[in-house]
C-alpha cells in the first residue's frame, strides 16, 4: 500500500508532534547518550518519509519510529566499540540490549525520565526550558531561540553546555525516588509554566500571544497528566493553562489591541477548555494543603465562571491570593492580591496594599507594578500621579501590544 506524499508528510509531522518524546526517551535508554539518541531519532523520522510513502503509514507510528531509531543506535554502538567505551554513561544499570529488545513493540515509557533529566535542578532554569523544548517537544534550536528572543548561536551554546553538564556530572536518566519526587515535580512544572507564560504574553515583539509556545506548554502539561495522574499539582498546572488560555480569543481586539479582563468579550471564551479546567481544579484542590498551581488555577476558575467583570467574586479571589501567598510567598502574588483588593474593597484599599510593596527590590523594574498603581490612581481620579505611573510602566514594557494599551490609557487621561 502506498500513500500520497502530502499524506505521508502530514503523518510524519503528526508523529513528530505527538511521539518525539516517547521515541527519543526510548532511544536514550539504549544509547545512554542524548546526542547520539537525537541523531538516531532524527534519522528515523527521515526514513519514515521514505518508507511510509512506499509501504503506507504504520498502525503505530511511534513504535515504528522507536524500533528504527533503536536499531540504528545499536548498529552505531556495535560498529564503533571505541565510541561505546567513551560514551558518557547516563545510566548506572549498564546493560547491553539484544536485538529482540530493540525490536520489541512494547517499549517502556521513558518520557518521564527524560523530562526529569531536562528539568534537573543542577541545570540553570533557562537551560532546563531550552532542553525540555528541544528534547521533549522536539523543537529545533532556531525555533527555541526565536521564542526566547536570543540569537540562534546563543541558544545552541546554551543547549550544548547543558548537554555537556548532563554527561560530565552524570545527571541521571531516571524518575526520582519518592522522597525527592514532590520537589522535582515542582521544578518540572515551573519549566512548563515558564513555557506557557512566555507564550501567553510574549516578552517582546509585535504579537501578544506566541500560540506555538502556548500549545507546546499545553502538550507538556497533558503529557505530565498522563504520566503522573495522581499528582494534584500536575492537575493544577493543566487547569491553570486551560483556564488562562481559554480567554485567548478575547485578549486582543480585532485591531490587535490589548483588552483587559474587565473589557473582554466573555462570549469568546473557550467554554470547553473552561469546563475541563474547572473539573481539574476540583481534583487539584483536594490535596491538603492545596499547592501553588492548584490555587492559581482556582483563581483563574473564579474569573472563568464569573458572568461579568462586575459580578466577579472578588473577596474569594483575595482569599485565594492569601492562601497562595502562604503556599508560595512571592512579591508578584502580593501585587495581584493588592489589585484584587482594589476591586473587592475599592481603589483606596487596593492602593494601600500596593504601596506596602513599593520598596520590594524583587519588584524593581517589574512593569505590572506601575501599571497596577496607575489603574488604581486613575480610578481614584488622581490623574497626574496616574500619568506618571503609566509613563513608568511604558518605559518597562517591550511588547508592542502592551505598549499601545498603556499609551492609550495615558492619552485618555490627557484629554
Amino acid at each position: 500500500m502506498t500513500a500520497s506524499a502530502p499524506a505521508v508528510a502530514d503523518a510524519v509531522a503528526q508523529a513528530h508532534r505527538r511521539e518525539w518524546a516517547f521515541v527519543l526517551a526510548a532511544t536514550v535508554r539504549v544509547t545512554r547518550d542524548i546526542d547520539l539518541a537525537e541523531e538516531c531519532v532524527q534519522d528515523a523520522y527521515a526514513r519514515a518519509l521514505e518508507h511510509w510513502a512506499r509501504d503506507g503509514v504504520p498502525e503505530r507510528p511511534g513504535a515504528w519510529l522507536t524500533i528504527v531509531a533503536r536499531r540504528r543506535a545499536l548498529d552505531l554502538l556495535r560498529r564503533n566499540a571505541r565510541l561505546a567505551r567513551s560514551l558518557p554513561l547516563l545510566l548506572d544499570d549498564v546493560h547491553e540490549p539484544g536485538p529482540d529488545e530493540a525490536a520489541a513493540p512494547a517499549v517502556a515509557d521513558d518520557r518521564l525520565a527524560l523530562i526529569f533529566t531536562c528539568a534537573h535542578p543542577a541545570l540553570a532554569e533557562p537551560a532546563q526550558v531550552a532542553l525540555t523544548l528541544r528534547l521533549v517537544c522536539g523543537l529545533r534550536t532556531a525555533e527555541i531561540a526565536r521564542a526566547f528572543l536570543v540569537s540562534e548561536p546563543t541558544m545552541a551554546a546554551r543547549i550544548t553546555r547543558a548537554k555537556k553538564k548532563i554527561a560530565a556530572a552524570r545527571i541521571p536518566f531516571r524518575v526520582p525516588g519518592a522522597d525527592e519526587l514532590p520537589a522535582r515535580i515542582q521544578s518540572v512544572l515551573s519549566v512548563v509554566q515558564l513555557v506557557f507564560t512566555t507564550g501567553h504574553t510574549a516578552p517582546g515583539g509585535r504579537v501578544l500571544v506566541r500560540t506555538d509556545l502556548v500549545e507546546r506548554s499545553l502538550d507538556l502539561a497533558r503529557m505530565l497528566r498522563v504520566l503522573l495522574p495522581a499528582d494534584a499539582e500536575v492537575s493544577g498546572l493543566l487547569a491553570l493553562i486551560l483556564l488562562t488560555d481559554a480567554r485567548r480569543a478575547s485578549r486582543t481586539t480585532q485591531a490587535g489591541e490589548l483588552a483587559l479582563l474587565a473589557d473582554q468579550d466573555r462570549s469568546l471564551w473557550d467554554r470547553e477548555a473552561i469546563e475541563e479546567g474547572v473539573a481539574l481544579v476540583r481534583v487539584a484542590l483536594r490535596a491538603r494543603p492545596p499547592g501553588r498551581f492548584a490555587l492559581m488555577a482556582a483563581i483563574a476558575a473564579v474569573h472563568a465562571e464569573a458572568p461579568s467583570f462586575d459580578q466577579t467574586a472578588w473577596p474569594e479571589i483575595v482569599g485565594l491570593y492569601e492562601l497562595l501567598g502562604e503556599a508560595w510567598p512571592s512579591p508578584v502574588v502580593a501585587l495581584n492580591r493588592a489589585a484584587a483588593i482594589g476591586f473587592a474593597d475599592g481603589p483606596t484599599a487596593g492602593l494601600l496594599a500596593l504601596d506596602a510593596l513599593a520598596d520590594d527590590p524583587a519588584l524593581e523594574g517589574y512593569r505590572y507594578l506601575p501599571a497596577a498603581r496607575a489603574d488604581l490612581l486613575r480610578r481614584l481620579g488622581r490623574t497626574q500621579e496616574a500619568c506618571a505611573a503609566y509613563e513608568q510602566a511604558l518605559a518597562l514594557s517591550d511588547n508592542d501590544v502592551e505598549r499601545a494599551f498603556l499609551r492609550g490609557r495615558l492619552d485618555g487621561l490627557g484629554e
Partner: protein, 115 residues
C-alpha cells in the same frame, strides 16, 4: 560509579569568632557524617585557613611569582573537601546535602577521567 569532589566553602571569620563549643559541635558533625557515609567516602581533609595559603602564578613573561594569600579572595573560602564515589549526580547530591557547612555551603564537582 564515578568520583565526585565535594568542596566545602565557608566564612572563615565565623570560625575565627566561634567559641570552643561550636567548634566541638562541628567536629562531631563531621565525624557523624563520616560514619554515616563511610561506604561512599574515599577521602577528605580539612584545610588550614587561607591566611596560610601561598599562590604561584606564571606571568605572561614566563616569570614565576610567588605571593601570599589564596588564589582568589572570597568571603566564603575553600576550607575542606570530601572525595566520594557515587553512581550519578543525584546520589552525589544526596551525600553532599549531609556535609556539615553551617557557615557556608558546598560545591559538587565530577572528577574527570581520561582514557
Amino acid at each position: 560509579m564515578a568520583g565526585y569532589l565535594i568542596l566545602i566553602y565557608e566564612d572563615e571569620a565565623s570560625y575565627a569568632s566561634a567559641d570552643e563549643s561550636v567548634l566541638g559541635e562541628v567536629f562531631a558533625e563531621h565525624t557523624a557524617f563520616g560514619e554515616a557515609n563511610g561506604a561512599a567516602l574515599s577521602g577528605g581533609n580539612a584545610l588550614a585557613a587561607t591566611g596560610s595559603a601561598t599562590s604561584i602564578r606564571r606571568e605572561p613573561s614566563g616569570e614565576i611569582t610567588v605571593t601570599d594569600g589564596p588564589f582568589v579572595e572570597t568571603k566564603e573560602a575553600l576550607g575542606g573537601y570530601y572525595l566520594i564515589e557515587a553512581a550519578d549526580l543525584d546520589e552525589a547530591i544526596a551525600v553532599a546535602k549531609q556535609v556539615p557547612a553551617r557557615f557556608g555551603g558546598v560545591e559538587v564537582r565530577p572528577i574527570r577521567l581520561f582514557d
